[in-house]
């Protein structure tokens, strides 16, 4: 984007305005149905930049110097791989450890680094996720099938218009010697939001 990023009000790009104008008109005339449109788009929610973030994580797992750069300046480290946010957002990487689990939410809106993570899942924008993730992160995680030990501290990061987070999940056991491409296949979108864990090698086989 060439224009200055303005933090006081929202701004839509020319193409975004054209798309919204079309959607309003076609909805008014009854040619499209927004809920059906959302449902159709939902089928592609993982189809925007599907593996960008996963490649970042896999590289951080295998390259200690890249890992250090990612943790100190995620925006620059992600840009090294050619992934640049169109909204000029600042990225921060937060890393899961045996004692700490990170999870991302945006209580204000649904700010989401889609150039890195792809289209946001529909639940990410839902009011229940946004409010409960802060109040009861352990409960929300268990609904996603993630059970953490009571000793594990859960940190919830609230995105803003200016700062977006990337969770670096823990590298699964049994992946010693794997290359970046193999590892990237284990990194799900949800694991980079913190509502999931990276897949175990056995899960990858059953998912394939």
């Amino acid at each position: 984007m060439s224009h200055d990023h303005d933090h006081d009000h929202s701004e839509l790009s020319d193409v975004e305005l054209r798309v919204r104008a079309l959607e309003t008109l076609l909805t008014d005339k009854g040619y499209i149905d927004p809920p059906a449109l959302d449902a159709l788009i939902e089928t592609y929610e993982t189809k925007v930049g599907p593996k960008n973030g996963a490649m970042v994580v896999a590289k951080a797992w295998t390259d200690p110097e890249y890992h250090a750069r990612l943790m100190s300046d995620a925006t620059a480290a992600i840009a090294e791989l050619g992934f640049v946010g169109r909204q000029g957002e600042h990225m921060v990487a937060v890393e899961n450890t045996p004692g700490t689990h990170n999870m991302v939410v945006c209580t204000l809106c649904s700010c989401y680094p889609w150039t890195v993570l792809g289209l946001p899942p529909v639940w990410y924008k839902s009011a229940p996720y946004r409010s409960r993730a802060v109040r009861d992160p352990r409960g929300v995680l268990s609904e996603f099938g993630v059970t953490l030990s009571d000793e594990t501290e859960i940190k919830v990061w609230d995105s803003t218009a200016e700062v977006r987070y990337l969770v670096v999940p823990q590298r699964p056991a049994g992946t010693e010697g794997w290359d970046e491409a193999q590892l990237a296949a284990l990194v799900s979108r949800d694991s980079m939001i913190g509502t999931g864990l990276a897949l175990a090698p056995s899960e990858r086989e059953s998912a394939a």
Partner: protein, 117 residues
């Protein structure tokens, strides 16, 4: 969801390894989905759409000097076919575009942008 072959066999349509459309921005998915719905609503035949999109893509020539993305062309082609079918006049779209622009500027950053009418 299974898309008709006519959709996934569009020339140069970006597809992933599973043969599903892949997008580089949310608006691309939105205009793609709107096109599929407008077609299903009978606004145009898929062949007509393919011709319209093909004409836009042809503007890239040999493809070596591409400044517009595939979906930039898609969006232009969609606007044109709707105009030709008498569904969306250029004036109507320009008015709505302006209304959305005003709505965005009146919305504090981070809050959902809604069109007040």
């Amino acid at each position: 969801m299974t898309l008709p072959d006519a959709v996934t066999s569009m020339p140069r349509l970006p597809l992933d390894q599973d043969g599903e459309p892949v997008f580089s921005a949310p608006w691309e998915a939105r205009v793609f989905a709107m096109t599929v719905q407008a077609h299903e609503a009978g606004v145009f035949e898929w062949r007509e759409w393919a011709d319209q999109l093909g004409a836009e893509l042809a503007k890239d020539g040999d493809g070596r000097n591409v400044s517009l993305s595939y979906y930039d062309h898609w969006l232009s082609a969609f606007e044109k076919i709707l105009k030709e079918k008498g569904v969306a006049g250029a004036d109507q779209l320009a008015g709505l575009k302006e209304a959305w622009d005003e709505a965005a500027r009146a919305t504090p950053h981070g809050q959902p942008i809604e069109l007040k009418r």
